[in-house]
Every structure is written in C-alpha cells, then in structure tokens.
C-alpha cells in the first residue's frame, strides 16, 4: 500500500533576493500551469542579481514545463550565473537530458582527498570566486576599442562598482573610466598586457552613480580552451590611498619645519602647497603662514576674510568658482600665526575623492610647526 505523496504538495516559490545573490527555493510539484509565473520570477532574479541559486532540494514533480521556464527565463538575459542546488535524482536526470549547461551544486562535497580529486572541485573554486570579497572581472583579450568585452564579474565586483552583472557583461571596462583616470597608467597597462606581463596599478575609476574611487588592480592573461582572457582582481583603495598620501604630506611638513626660524615659514608654506597637491592629485594651491599682524596678499590666496573665518571656525569651505570648478579653502590659527590655504581648479570628482579632514589636519600641523 502506498501513501500518496502528492497530497501535501502544491508549488511554493520562495525568493530571497539581493543584488549579489538571489536564492529561489521551489517546494512541491511544478505543473505546466506554473510555467509563466516561474519564468517571470526567474528572469527577474537573473536580471537583477549577480548569482541566482535555484534550490530544488524540496521540489517534487519537475519536468518539461520547468525546463521550458528555465530556458525562457535565460533566453534574453546575458547572465550565465544560474546555479541549481541539491536536485533530487529524478531532477538530475531531467537536467542531464535537457543539456542546459547549468552548474549543479550538491552539498555533499565533504569527501576526503586533495581538493582537485573531489568531484565538486570546480564548484568549490567557482564558489570561492563568487563569495570572495575581492572584485573580479574577466574580459576578452581585445585591447583595441570597443574591446575588451567583459564576460564575467563576481558579486564583489558588482558591490564595488554598482553595476549588476547583467548591466556590465558585454560592455568594456572603459565604462569605469573617467576624467581623473590616469591615462599614462592605462598606456602602461596596454603595453604590459601586449607583452603578456602581469599588470599591477592604481588609478581612479568611477562607479555606476559617477562616484570616483581609487582602484588598485592586477590583470593577468589566462589562456583557456577557447581563447585568451584577461582576469582582473580589483580592490577599492580609496582609504589606503588617502592614508598613504596623508602620511607623506605630513612628512613633507615636518621636514620643512626643520630649518632656522627665518626661513621656516616660507618652507612650510611651500611644503603645504606640495602636501595639498599630494592629497588632491590636482589643482593649483596657494598657501601662506603669517603672523596675524603681518598679513600679505597673493594672487591665489586673496579671498574675503569672512571666507577664512568660516573655514577656520566651521571647517573647510568649498566655493563653486566657475561652472563645475571649485575652490577649497582651509584656515587655522595657532597663537599669533595664521595659516591659509586656497586650492583652485578642482572638480567635484576631486572633492569626492578627498577627505577634507586631512586638509584641516595638515593646515593645523603647519600652523603649529610655524609657531615652533
């Protein structure tokens, strides 16, 4: 006597969505009438997530209607990262016959032996890439525009750049570049890749929303069965770049202060200019360190006293001096010395990349060194 299994099984579709990964769990029997609804749900997940996992551990009947839904959902979506998890044996058979070329992941890979001897080794590697914190991007090897073409990005790349896999795959990494991207570095990148050398560099890239960030990346050419690809590993280096530049700028000021009193202020002023150049990577900088009663004016430093007062009392002052051009004004008083810095010729991208507190700190340090 058999106990009908079907009584408790109508299909339920649970979706746990996120930009990096969406999990869809099917519970129960997949009937032909479920095809359209499931197609839309799966297509939506494939379009919006870097990775879509289809958990079939609780699926019952799963036949041609389900396969057709998967085929339909993938038809117009350039998203290769659909993974099927834990299918029952009958579903494995269906998938094998269908030849859909979808990775199947079973959670029984705890077998002894070296990693490469495990049946799930490729899946293990794939999972490491997809779950890693380091952004990864694979492109074709055409260096001339409009190439190279992005063929794969991992979820960390999507988190870093703001693009979904669906948006970025098929495009060129050039979409990440902008006004502050170092063209000399890009030339070096090209030259090294042409020589089949590994490239390692750092420059400004842009997220989907236009926000600039310092990107540290390494690119290696990898030969596969169907051709040559470039594999790039990228990290957001904005914090470390700022910290490194701040340390170097501070060192400049301290070196400048190590002189006799009669030349200290001029050296500090020069060092302050250099330090701000270092922090910003651009702009024309003017600075002066003076006793309050011996103020002098200069071409770049001549601004309204009220501006310096606001900068001194409330923090850095940013003024739009021209269309899309900005000035950064910082000021600090220590004892009877006043330090003023005006940075001109900045864009909003420079300001976004700059930690303004670093500039205040440098000005105050210069003021304190001038007193000494």
């Amino acid at each position: 006597m058999t106990t009908p299994r079907h009584d408790a099984h109508s299909l339920s579709i649970a979706v746990d969505g996120a930009p990096a990964r969406t999990r869809i769990r099917l519970t129960g029997d997949f009937e032909p009438s479920h095809r359209l609804l499931f197609t839309e749900i799966l297509r939506g997940a494939l379009k919006t997530s870097a990775i879509t996992e289809l958990d079939l551990s609780r699926a019952g009947v799963f036949g041609s209607a389900a396969v057709a839904a998967i085929v339909d959902a993938r038809r117009d979506v350039e998203q290769p990262t659909l993974v099927i998890r834990n299918p029952a044996p009958h579903i494995v058979t269906v998938l094998e016959i269908s030849n859909l070329d979808i990775p199947v992941d079973t959670e029984d890979a705890d077998e002894p032996g070296l990693p490469s001897s495990r049946p799930g080794y490729d899946q293990l590697i794939a999972r490491s890439v997809t779950s890693g914190r380091e952004a990864m991007c694979i492109t074709t090897d055409e260096l001339d525009s409009p190439g190279p073409e992005i063929v794969y990005v991992n979820p960390a790349f999507c988190a870093l750049t703001g693009y979904s896999a669906n948006e970025i795959i098929g495009q060129s990494p050039r979409v990440l570049q902008g006004a502050l991207t170092d063209r000399v570095m890009l030339d070096r990148l090209r030259a090294q890749l042409e020589q089949r050398e590994t490239f390692h560099g750092e420059t400004v890239n842009y997220r989907k929303d236009g926000a600039p960030f310092f990107m540290n990346w390494k690119i290696t050419a990898v030969d596969a069965d169907d051709g040559r690809y470039f594999v790039a590993h990228q990290i957001d280096a904005t914090t470390s770049v700022r910290a490194t530049r701040n340390v170097a700028a501070t060192a400049l000021l301290r070196d400048a202060a190590d002189h006799g009193e009669h030349e200290r202020n001029q050296r500090l002023a020069d060092a302050l200019v250099a330090a701000h150049h270092m922090l910003l990577g651009a702009g024309s900088v003017g600075s002066e360190i003076t006793a309050a009663d011996t103020r002098r004016s200069g071409d770049t430093i001549d601004r309204s006293p009220a501006v310096y007062e606001r900068a001194r009392d409330s923090g850095p002052e940013i003024i739009e001096s021209d269309l899309h051009a900005f000035e950064l004004i910082v000021s600090a008083d220590i004892d009877s010395r006043e330090v003023r810095v005006v940075v001109t010729g900045l864009t909003s991208d420079h300001l976004k990349l700059t930690a303004l507190d670093d500039h205040v700190g440098l000005v105050r340090l210069a003021a304190s060194l001038a007193v000494g």
């Binding site: 006597m1 058999t2 106990t3 009908p4 299994r5 079907h6 029997d29 009937e31 032909p32 009438s33 019952g60 009947v61 799963f62 036949g63 041609s64 209607a65 396969v67 057709a68 085929v71 339909d72 029952a88 044996p89 009958h90 058979t93 269906v94 016959i97 269908s98 030849n99 859909l100 070329d101």
Partner: protein
C-alpha cells in the same frame, strides 16, 4: 483493472488533477510511487493533452491496473520519437523525459491512437 478514466477535453492545466486521480487509484495497489514516477506520469499526461488539443480535444483514455498504467491519446505519429530534442527547443522533451525517468514504459500505436504503458514496480 482497477480504474478507468476518460479525460475529456484535456488541457495541460488539468494535468495535476488527473495525475492525482491516477495516484489516488494506485493507492489501492501495492505499487510504490515516487517523484520519478510522478514526473514521468506528468510528462506523459502533458504530452497526451497537447496531442489531443492539436487534434481538437479528443478524449484521453487512462487505465490504472495493479501492474501498470496506460494512457491512450490521439497521435499523428506512429511511434513517439523519444530522442532528445535540441537544447533550445522548448517542446518535445516530454516523452524523452518519460523514457529516461521510467524506462519501464512502452508505446503501442494503432488506428491513429497511441497507448503508453508504464509498468509499475
């Protein structure tokens, strides 16, 4: 014979209902069912419904026996082609699934109708 059904004006939206009727009838037999059998049966019924719809909704005949289940429907082909269709083909996989999932299935064509016989275990 345990039970005989006539599935009139078949449609694929009714596959679930008809499958449950068959499984309920089988509950009186010693045969065991599982997801593999149910998926194969579902594919067989889906194929029968589609074939009958194309033939202007001819009735599908279903018989549940102690040892086997038969599904008889109109067919414009003599023997079902259970070869696997191309990967990008949406339709035509059903009978290939039946053959792979439930190898104890045989087909007999006669007078414009085809009967699939699924042996039970």
């Amino acid at each position: 014979m345990i039970e005989h059904f006539e599935w009139e004006t078949p449609h694929i939206d009714e596959v679930r209902t008809v499958r449950h009727q068959i499984l309920d009838a089988m509950s009186a037999s010693p045969a065991q069912t599982d997801c593999t059998f149910e998926t194969a049966l579902s594919e067989l019924l889906t194929n029968a419904a589609e074939a009958s719809t194309e033939a202007e909704r001819e009735t599908v005949l279903i018989e549940v026996h102690d040892t086997h289940v038969t599904v008889t429907n109109h067919s414009s082909t003599e023997v079902p082609d259970v070869a696997v269709p191309p990967a990008d083909a949406i339709r035509g996989r059903g009978l290939a699934f039946v053959a792979a999932l439930w190898p104890q299935t045989s087909w007999l064509a006669s007078d414009g109708q085809i009967t699939a016989r699924m042996e039970l275990r």
